[in-house]
């Protein structure tokens, strides 16, 4: 028997066997599909969490950052002395030093009047240190007193600010922020994260008006923009030597990784999603195992007959494994389609960046494939009960 035949013929046999019992096949497919959707959702949420948690930092247009080493996550910054921003300018490579202020305040929904915490991101708007979509067009108007820009991707609980603004073109929308009357001048794009349901962008001056009790000597983050051609890593080393221990100097990828590590390690969130994926795979494996096992148990005489007429254990093992892999494919395809639809539905309901990608589909297929193969290997042990000597 050629290699191709020795793989194809058992595959065909197991397909004929699966096909003969529609109800059992559908049950097995549903089991695999269930596992598939569960894993897709868990992995999707996990990735969306980490992506959204770092969206704000990723949008900053700076090569190096100064941060208090005690800061664990950007939504809860520890302050650092403002003087460090000036000290950094001592290096010729540093072109611009932009203090960034971050805090959470309450926002009153302009439609319903309910209150909710919103993230403030404040800096010198003219510095051009933030790459948020829509910000450039608003830069001038944000210099007016009490002006803010609202993140259009904030959760809907903050009110439909986009529609209200569109209803009164050219006129700012008055809102209550932290007990003060402020004006929404327009919209920018940032996106909510697990730490912040919504964002407001404003100038340093307006931030001080809103939170007059904050010490003027402190900032939350310093974004350093380097001269064209300056090497960020070499500059980072020089800054570390120059500045005291009360600040860390991070490149942008390091800053993003710092934030990400908080969510991965210091919160149970990363673990929860990994655990959820694992549970899905285990449940799926048990279902597939049950189906394959009862398939073998119900066809023991037939397997024993095949052994009696000269089929090898290896051939029958390939029949069982083929069945497992057919179930993997048959369950994965509808599972991936359902997951893509769910990504859309859940993504638009939660404003999380959920989306299907080829690499993720490949990863999940690999997991489902492994799950089914493991179930097949476990079920295969039942083949030993097929004794050709008992056939007569």
């Amino acid at each position: 028997m050629s290699l191709l035949q020795s793989l194809y013929l058992p595959l065909r046999l197991s397909w004929r066997q699966l096909r003969a019992e529609r109800a059992r096949l559908l049950a097995a497919m549903a089991g695999v599909m269930f596992a598939c959707v569960l894993v897709f959702m868990q992995i999707g949420f996990r990735a969306a969490l980490f992506d959204s948690a770092t969206a704000l930092l990723s949008a900053m247009r700076a090569e190096l950052f100064l941060m208090n080493p005690l800061t664990t996550a950007s939504f809860r910054p520890e302050p650092l002395p403002r003087i460090r921003a000036q000290q950094a300018l001592a290096l010729a490579e540093v072109r611009q030093s932009v203090p960034v202020y971050m805090a959470q305040v309450t926002w009153r929904n302009p439609e319903s009047g309910t209150r909710r915490a919103i993230q403030l991101v404040a800096f010198d708007i003219e510095s051009d240190a933030m790459g948020f979509n829509g910000l450039a067009a608003l830069a001038d108007r944000l210099k007016q007193p009490d002006a803010v820009a609202f993140d259009r991707r904030s959760r809907p609980e903050f009110g439909d600010v986009g529609r209200l603004l569109a209803g009164q073109p050219g006129t700012p929308l008055p809102v209550q922020i932290g007990g003060r009357q402020m004006n929404v001048m327009g919209l920018v794009d940032i996106g909510p994260s697990f730490g912040a349901d919504g964002n407001l962008v404003l100038s340093e001056t307006n931030f001080r008006r809103l939170l007059p009790n904050r010490s003027v000597a402190n900032v939350d983050l310093v974004a350093l923009r380097l001269q064209p051609g300056a090497d960020p890593v070499a500059t980072q080393a020089r800054l570390k030597a120059l500045l005291p221990e009360d600040v860390v100097v991070l490149t942008q990828p390091e800053l993003v990784a710092w934030e990400r590590r908080y969510w991965e390690e210091a919160t149970p969130i990363g673990f929860i999603f990994t655990f959820g994926s694992l549970m899905g795979l285990i449940v799926g494996m048990v279902i597939v195992y049950q189906i394959l096992f009862s398939d073998i148990a119900g066809h023991l005489r037939e397997y024993a007959t095949l052994k009696a007429i000269g089929y090898s254990n290896g051939y029958l093992a390939r029949v069982v494994l083929s069945a497992a892999l057919l179930l993997a494919v048959l369950g994965f395809v509808p599972g991936a389609v359902v997951s893509a639809v769910l990504y859309d539905v859940v993504g638009s309901a939660t404003f999380l960046p959920l989306g299907m990608s080829w690499s993720r589909a490949g990863l999940v297929f690999g997991l489902i494939f492994g799950m089914c193969a493991a179930a097949g290997l476990l079920a295969m042990r039942k083949l030993r009960d097929a004794q050709p000597a008992d056939m007569f």
């Binding site: 066809h299 005489r301 037939e302 007429i309 000269g310 056939m391």
Partner: protein
Amino acid sequence: MADPVVLEEVSYAFGEGELRRAVLRDVALRVMPGEIVLLTGPSGSGKTTLLTLIGALRAMQAGRARVLETELAGAGEGQRRALRRRIGFIFQNHNLLGFLNARQNVAMALELQAGLTERERLSRADAMLASVGLEDHRHKPPSQLSGGQRQRVAIARALVGDPGLILADEPTAALDKASGQEVAALLRRMARQRQVPILMVTHDPRILDMADRIVTMEDGRVVPALPAG
């Protein structure tokens, strides 16, 4: 040509130690080329056990056995499996695969042979089904065939690979009188055409007349031979 089945001093016991029970004692048996031998005897006399040893479905314990030129004493699973492929088995229950139709069942016996295309397998299966009178039932699963028809499919499956020996254990026991005789006659005719020897266990007195020779067993021993008829 050497005799297809030659047994000498074959003994077999089930169980270990205290529970050890001898089932076959010094059995000698010979089947000659093209010969049809029926094996009878009371229940529990060891007929089926003997058949499973000859069919290489069980490992030998004591004695010498040569089946289709293969020495069975000390043969490993691989050797026994290779021998099984050259034997046509017919069981009391047809043991067809329920999810395959008649021609697919017959073709299964050919899938182990190298060098055959799917087309060749199916046309040989069709020819074999036609010669057992089932050309119109090729596409039916076993569940849509009568008991006699199923057993005829089983005969086609046993014969399609051109075996050197047919082993059958009470192939007519599950059938009524008419279809039992029909199946026995068919098996005899097909074996004669192809010059295939048959060793068949049966209790069925209605089919004893098909034999060239009848061997009777009692309590694990072969009773000295009677002339056929």
